[in-house]
Amino acid sequence: MDTFSRRSFVKAAGVGIATPIAMPSIIRPAYAASGTVKLGCLFSSSGTMANLEGRLNHVVRMAADEINAKGGVNGKTIDVAVSDPASDWPLYAQSAKQMLDQEKVAALFGCWTSVSRKTVLPVVEQADGLLFYPLHFEGEENSKNIVYVNSPPTSSVLPAVDYLMGEDGVSAKRFFMIGSDYVWPRTINKQLKAYWKSKGIPETAWKEEYVPLGFSNFQTLVSQIRAFADQGGGKAIVVLTVVGSSIPDFLREFANQGLKATDVPVLGLDMVEADLEGLNTEPLVGHLNCWAYLQNAKGPANVAFLKKWADYVKAKNVPFKGDVAIDPMVSAYDSVHLWAMAAAKAGSFAVPEVRKAFAGLTFDCPSGYKIGMTAENNYVSRGVFIGSVNEKQGFDVLWQSKDTPKPVPFSTLG
């Protein structure tokens, strides 16, 4: 063993390339320093999603750099190719096709909204590619070509709604759902309604409203929420599934009409730290969100991750804040590591082999949980956090799960 590694070191030094003496280069010396493997990013850096998705490109690069610094995967260094689908859903499919056909990427990391994932789905299925999807979503999908790194509703939304309905929460009895008009909010709300029905809550206890994507004039809706909350019949909460710039616009109007979290709490399912940038959060303190990671998560893994991101932002002059970390960033970071571990385990970059290697993988996620995958499906089991808005434009951890619940792809509630 000792002589082996010394020999390979001498060999590498001889050709003038400082190949690190990492494990893969020992196992498969034939691969040593013979080129790169490409990964592709499908995150918009222009359009309505730019502020949120844009930062994920940099996180993928950061994770790749980290793996490269340890010797790459299967003896190859990772090269990250970035595209800009411009928040235009059909363009995601086009970019994905280009990445797979021309750039020959080994895996794709991308999409934020469910509608963009749905457009990419047939492309990756046809080419038998691999897409890592870092957002929590509505479930009801299980493709062998997509790795669902974040949680379906049973392990994110339902625990949060349960918490609010319980004694520790606010004993919520009535629900006002507001969503952007597309597949994710509609499916989530459908499942929520089925869930409430299964709990014996009458249909009169909820109200459902949708707004167009990018909607900003929330005056009438907030008045409706006030009227709904004042009708009596138990504590009312808002389940907010609007996305993008509608989130801060809604919160601003909500606070402006004098509503507080203690009057009507808002559970923002797509609300992340980045949505609070630019808002005065003092009148918003107490509103909630639920994710598989919060920036205030405790543990050394998170401290290390936050430092890495801050350093990366500084070193590479990234146009995003170094002191803001959101769940999809961590999920994208986990994705790259999961892929690298699977590829190393399979000893190959071929999608069928990598896919087979997913079973039994575990990774120490910055959230503090050990996340894992099984042979059953391409879902990743993650922890659950409920966050509460604080004065400093962030979220405090209000509640977190003991372990990582097993993800259930298809809702049993109809």
Binding site: S46, D181, Y210, Q219, R226, K260
Partner: protein, 545 residues
């Protein structure tokens, strides 16, 4: 006794009950508060913490004046997370000084001191305690009024006599009156029918859905069937409240419509000038709005650095800046680009589209993609309840007033100044205007500058309402074209009427069919209208190309 069983659970509970009993029997004598006990509970587990919150509320209701003054800063500090617990009790930060929470002697918190965490439920308890204490101790009338506003919703968490006692202490007559009204909710449950009837009358004076939720259950009250006088009072109160709610709803709809119309108008007026005068479809108009908002932000940042005292007035100070910055960009655009494309409308459309992409990406590179943070000055913060559930918000009022002033100024420029005369002449007949010596090119340039400057002002007016980011302009371009085309190209009056119409119709449809359908229906209505009247509502009389 039930009371003794409950009291056995914690010493604190017993103490609270003792207080309550003392209040009922001899309201004038209050036991001194168990200060270390309250503090120990504050630093205890979740249940004890909630007990501490209720103890503070109880102090507000019947503690001595001294105890209330002691308790008020504690409730505030818990909410602001300025109270930290350590092994020796708790430390509060008051006016920058560290003081022991119980004794108020100066002391630094020990290492590892932590602020108790507020769950949503406990936050409500402490908000109630804080407001109840502030109502009795705050020296500022506004602060007491705000506290009363918080407590209105939570009258059930307080003893029935709380508001009467507070009203007796109150020195401000208007606030005293409001307190008496809130006190009536307790009186509704009284056993004295006369008291209940007076209470009904008082409650009906502030009609809203909360009042209705209080009064409605009385219909199934025993007295309702037996006592005709009571029945009459309940029915009258319900009728009055329902009327108030209806009026409030109508006003709220009109106000929402008006404020949406003011935003549409601000976004469209600049376009109306440009489109009307030159027939140029300026797709960069949305980006000029965005740049106006960014100029406002820069003014705010400048004031923060050089004149922090004036920071609250940045929205006023930024008016000339936002106008001049966007006007100069407009003039530059006209001179460099559009002047050469007047005879080719399709080319100018494409060119302005390219400019819009260029501007939004330029801003993205320079400032980043995140939303900008604006200070909310006091004059655009919050609002006041008027009648029923109509809530009058100041930031919308600011937009409405701003739109009204802009309308007046634009009208004055177009109608009363020599430039306006020239603009109208060129709009009516460009060739003829040129023949009689009007400098057509110069008028074009200045009018383009005026239109762009108006877009900048729109950006300023939108800053306190919407998120400001590089994409914000795209949201407005379609709406503003809709207004301009519907209003009739190039007329200010048409733009006003069209903005009011679209705004109001949108708001009217929204509660019935939802925001998505509202948008579709409005677009269909416009299409149908333009079939009948392609020139829009008000067409400029005169010969057009």
């Amino acid at each position: 006794m039930v009371a003794s069983a409950v009291a056995a659970r914690t010493g604190l509970r017993r103490f609270c009950l003792a207080l309550c009993l003392a209040l009922i029997v001899t309201p004038s004598i209050a036991a001194p508060a168990d200060r270390p006990g309250v503090i120990a509970n504050l630093c205890g587990d979740g249940a004890a913490f909630a007990d501490a919150g209720r103890a503070l509320t109880a102090l507000a209701a019947d503690g001595s004046a001294e105890d209330r003054t002691w308790a008020a800063p504690i409730a505030r500090a818990v909410l602001d997370r300025k109270l930290t617990c350590d092994a020796n009790g708790a430390v509060v930060v008051l006016q920058g000084a560290f003081l022991d929470a119980a004794s108020r002697a100066p002391r630094e918190p020990a290492d590892g001191a932590h602020a108790p965490f507020l769950s949503l439920k406990n936050r409500a308890t402490f908000e109630t305690a804080e407001a109840a204490l502030a109502l009795g101790t705050a020296t500022d009338v506004g602060r007491r009024a705000a506290a009363l506003h918080v407590l209105e919703h939570r009258a059930s968490a307080l003893p029935d006599t709380f508001f009467d006692a507070a009203a007796a202490r109150e020195t401000d007559p208007a606030l005293k009156q409001q307190m008496l009204v809130v006190a009536q909710i307790g009186a509704l449950r009284s056993t004295d029918p006369a008291k209940r009837i007076t209470a009904l009358g008082r409650i009906a004076e502030t009609p809203n859905r909360r009042a209705r939720a209080e009064v409605q259950p009385l219909v199934s009250d025993l007295a309702y069937a037996k006592d005709p006088q009571f029945k009459q009072a309940v029915d009258a109160a319900l009728a009055k409240i329902s009327r108030g709610i209806s009026i409030g709803d109508v006003l709220a709809t009109l106000y929402s419509g008006l404020s949406f119309a003011s935003i549409l108008f601000m976004a469209a007026i600049g376009l109306a000038v440009i489109f009307g005068l030159m027939g140029v479809i300026n797709l960069a108009q949305g980006e000029l709005i965005m740049i106006g908002a960014y100029a406002t932000w820069l003014v705010q940042q400048g004031l923060r650095t050089y004149a922090p005292g004036l920071l609250d007035y940045y929205l006023i100070i930024a008016i000339p800046v936002a106008f001049l910055v966007t006007a100069s960009i407009g003039i530059l655009l006209e001179v460099v680009l559009l002047r050469h494309l007047y005879k080719r409308p399709l080319m100018s459309l494409l060119a302005t589209w390219a400019v819009s992409l260029f501007l939004s990406n330029l801003v993205r590179v320079v400032f980043g993609t995140q939303n900008l943070q604006f200070v909310t000055p006091y004059y655009v913060t919050g609002g006041v309840p008027v009648i029923g559930d109509f809530f009058f918000t100041w930031n919308r009022m600011f937009a409405i007033a701003f739109a009204a002033v802009t309308l007046a100024l634009t009208w004055a420029i177009v109608r009363l100044t020599p430039l306006g005369l020239n603009i109208r002449a060129v709009t009516q007949n460009r060739t003829m205007a040129g023949c009689i010596g009007i400098p057509v090119r110069r008028v074009d340039m200045l009018a383009f500058g005026l239109g762009s400057g108006l877009a900048g002002l729109a950006g300023l007016a939108l800053a306190p309402i919407y998120s400001v980011n590089p994409q914000m302009g795209q949201n407005f371009i379609i709406d503003s074209f809709m207004v301009v085309v519907l209003g009739g190209v190039g007329t200010i009056g048409g733009t006003v009427v069209a903005a009011l119409g679209i705004g109001q119709i949108n708001v009217l449809i929204e509660p019935w069919y939802g925001a998505v359908a509202a948008k579709v229906i409005v677009l269909l209505m416009i299409i149908a209208f333009l079939q009948v009247r392609p020139e829009g509502l008000f067409a400029v009389k005169g010969r057009r190309k």
